[in-house]
């Protein structure tokens, strides 16, 4: 099934087309499963972007960074500072977020990539926890005497911030409202058309995701991407093939850091508050799970993984006993109460238990991820699996 492992450009463009259509029509096909409200859709798209970026490093080069949530946080703080200084326009916020997180990724990457394997993971984990501690108690802010991250409350845009460009670009539009607007188009605005909520903020993020996914696709299919895959399989041979692996891994680290920064910026564009908790190491663990759940090294896998994790997170945490009684109505009353009381351990205040179990089950039973699982099912269905095995058997016999 060469088509699945090495799609031609025409296959890629059709896949890209399907992906764009799916993202843009999310408010419609998500309604049946009750996930079509702006906040959740924005999270699907933003964490899809974060996972796609992380996949470029982890999926292609195999380097497991356990601190990428730090760049998400750095992107968020930069975006809010761009709002405070330049005004509530998302474009400069995104651009600054990407550059600043890129610089941080360059520094942290350059230092961390001097090691590999578990040492590299622990180094990035240590860097991220340091960034988290600095942001959480605003250590640098205290050192410089300014309110850099506003500590645990989170950095917000205040009425008395300079916002220099606000008056200039959006002349005539009341800029007192502290909502993010794209040259006047208020991103919190939602058009409702027979029951479907089309949110401007969501479509801004969707547009950014589509561009970023296209860039990721080009990277995957390019010689640069091929070199990254080679780094994963055999770095020693690659060195002796005349390729300096250090800059390649650093480039992949910086690119994935910039994706994370962009995702952090989008988090603030849809909700202008930069909290320190998004930099916690548990968030770094979650993005690794998204990539593994979706399918490491595949293009669409991380997006899928992000969607599933964020959906289950939102659903499980809000279900309580009433919802469980509804779902389990088919069980006869006698035993339903016991079933519900057991089930309620897994939802509502116990949703972390489900998250932990999901972590374990995915890694145990589906290490290749959903896309890999789908590919294997497709192979079995189309019987091409047998043909492939014959070719390999023939090669073996020739020995």
């Amino acid at each position: 099934m060469k088509i699945l492992t090495h799609p031609t450009s025409s296959v890629d463009s059709t896949m890209m087309f399907i992906f764009v259509a799916a993202v843009l029509t999310m408010p419609i096909w998500l309604t049946p499963i009750g996930a079509a409200y702006p906040d959740l859709m924005q999270r699907f798209v933003i964490f899809g972007l974060f996972a796609t970026g992380f996949n470029i490093l982890f999926g292609l080069t195999g380097y497991l960074s356990f601190g990428h949530a730090a760049f998400l946080g750095i992107g968020s703080y930069t975006a809010v500072w761009s709002f405070k200084l330049l005004g509530m326009n998302p474009i400069p916020a995104a651009i600054f977020a990407v550059t600043v997180s890129g610089v941080f990724a360059l520094v942290i990457g350059y230092i961390s990539l001097r090691r590999s394997g578990i040492y590299f993971s622990i180094l990035t984990l240590a860097f991220a926890q340091m960034c988290y501690a600095i942001a959480y108690s605003d250590l640098i802010g205290k050192f410089l005497g300014i309110n850099l991250t506003n500590g645990e409350t989170g950095l917000r845009v205040l009425a008395d911030d300079p916002r220099m460009l606000d008056g200039v670009l959006t002349s005539g539009i009341d800029t007192s409202a502290l909502t993010v607007n794209l040259f006047g188009l208020d991103l919190t605005h939602t058009w409702v058309w027979n029951g479907f909520q089309f949110n401007a903020g969501f479509y801004f993020c969707a547009f950014v995701l589509i561009i970023a996914s296209y860039i990721a696709m080009r990277i995957f299919r390019s010689p640069f991407g091929l070199m990254l895959k080679a780094v994963k399989t055999n770095q020693n041979r690659l060195n002796y093939t005349g390729v300096n692996t250090k800059p390649y891994t650093l480039a992949a680290f910086v690119i994935s850091g910039m994706y994370a920064g962009l995702a952090g910026a989008l988090l603030c564009i849809t909700d202008p508050l930069a909290g320190a908790e998004r930099m916690q190491w548990t968030a770094s663990g979650e993005v690794v799970l998204m990539v593994i759940l979706g399918g490491m090294g595949t293009l669409m896998g991380p997006m899928l993984g992000a969607g599933i994790i964020k959906f289950s997170e939102q659903k499980f945490s809000t279900w309580g006993k009433p919802e469980l009684h509804e779902f389990l109505a088919f069980i006869p009353d006698g035993i339903r109460d016991t079933v519900v009381s057991v089930a309620s351990l897994f939802v509502g205040s116990g949703w972390h238990l489900t998250l932990g179990l999901v972590f374990m089950l995915i890694v145990i039973f589906l290490p290749g991820g959903i896309v890999e699982g789908g590919r294997r099912i497709l192979m079995i269905v189309t019987g091409s699996n047998r043909r492939n095995r014959q070719i390999q058997a023939a090669a073996q016999a020739a020995e």
Binding site: S121, I122, I292, L355, F359
Partner: protein, 341 residues
């Protein structure tokens, strides 16, 4: 001068906990090559063994009288069953609950270690580190949530024995007049306890044949396997031992920090930093790094130090890890070439 001595005592007590946890972690990583993010949860399970022992001992039995309460429901007046059973000895048993809980912690943690290794870890020896990290990270969350479902989210106080409680006066030893250097007795007892456990583990590994095989396993797993030694059984036993060490560290730490379901997570990142600073697979390294980081963490919290670099106490651990990993990747006492790529 007293302040420094007190911080040294703080550092030794903290270091004791970090060393015990890191010792267990290095044993697992050194011999099995498995990155176990659930090691912090073992520390928590040990702590809750102490909590369970205490609640077992203080199990209350109705004494027949009934007392009305302001909020309307009747509550029976109760006394601990143990005192009813053994009289005065029962009360001393309750008082000494934490040391007594060691008797419960050892078997429970050995079984937990056994089940965890046979049930889950065994399948992950050959799997990449990323998958090991995620599956054990998931296990840590599950264990924490189960404890939270059972014991609630609030910290549960577990008092230390009165005889070993209160303040110990160390002024005499350090030659300053009495009453200036006083330190909680139990924290010092904890340091002694951890030193004792470390000693036992080292003797066990140094002087027993089983220990020799384990140390050989840490050097080079394949060759030991090639020599026909059933390394699988050894690994299971090693995992159980390291679970027990972490559990004991947790059980005896309960009087210092009232345990709650999240205590395991707080020690998790720290335990990995200690292991890496000490040098992967080196027992001596893990212990010395544990005490080093304990001391650094205490000294960095002194007001004079914080005046120079505000907030240094919150990032000192990670700063040390980064510097050590860059300057001396194999850690303080790791062997050349071990994980040095």
């Amino acid at each position: 001068m007293d302040a420094i001595i007190l911080q040294v005592l703080n550092g030794l007590e903290k270091g004791g906990a970090y060393a015990l946890i890191a010792l267990g972690l290095t044993l697992i990583f050194g011999t099995l090559g498995v990155v176990n993010f659930a090691h912090g949860a073992l520390f928590m399970l040990g702590a809750f063994c102490a909590v369970i022992m205490r609640s077992l001992l203080t199990y209350e039995v109705a004494t027949g009288e009934v007392e009305a309460t302001a909020w309307g429901t009747e509550v029976a007046v109760t006394t601990p069953y143990v005192t009813q059973l053994f009289g005065e000895f029962g009360n001393t048993l309750i008082d000494w609950a934490v040391p007594v809980s060691i008797l419960l912690t050892i078997p429970v943690m050995l079984i937990v270690g056994l089940v965890m290794e046979r049930g889950l870890i065994r399948h992950f020896y050959k799997r990449p580190h990323a998958e090991q990290i995620l599956v054990t990270f998931g296990l840590a969350i599950v264990l924490a949530e189960l404890i939270k479902a059972q014991f609630g989210a609030n910290p549960i106080p577990v008092p230390e024995p009165a005889a070993l409680g209160g303040m110990a006066d160390f002024s005499g030893i350090f030659g300053s007049e009495p009453g200036t250097i006083t330190y909680p007795m139990w924290r010092f007892v904890y340091f002694l306890f951890s030193a004792f456990i470390i000693l036992i583990v080292f003797c066990f590994l140094k002087f027993t044949t089983f220990g020799m095989v384990v140390r050989a396993g840490m050097e080079d797993r394949e060759t030991v396997g090639l020599l026909g030694i059933n390394i699988g059984k050894r690994f299971t036993f090693m995992f159980a031992i390291s679970a027990m060490i972490a559990g004991l560290a947790g059980a005896m730490y309960t009087p210092i920090i009232s345990p709650d379901y999240n205590i395991g997570m707080e020690f998790l990142v720290l335990s990995f930093v200690v292991v890496v600073v000490g040098g992967m697979g080196s027992l001596g390294g893990a212990v010395s790094a544990g005490f080093l980081l304990g001391l650094l963490q205490s000294f960095s919290a002194m007001n004079e130090v914080k005046a120079i670099i505000p907030g240094i106490d919150q990032i000192i651990i990670y700063l040390v890890a980064i510097i050590v990993l860059l300057v001396r990747p194999r850690g303080l006492m790791g062997r050349k070439g071990v994980m040095e790529t």
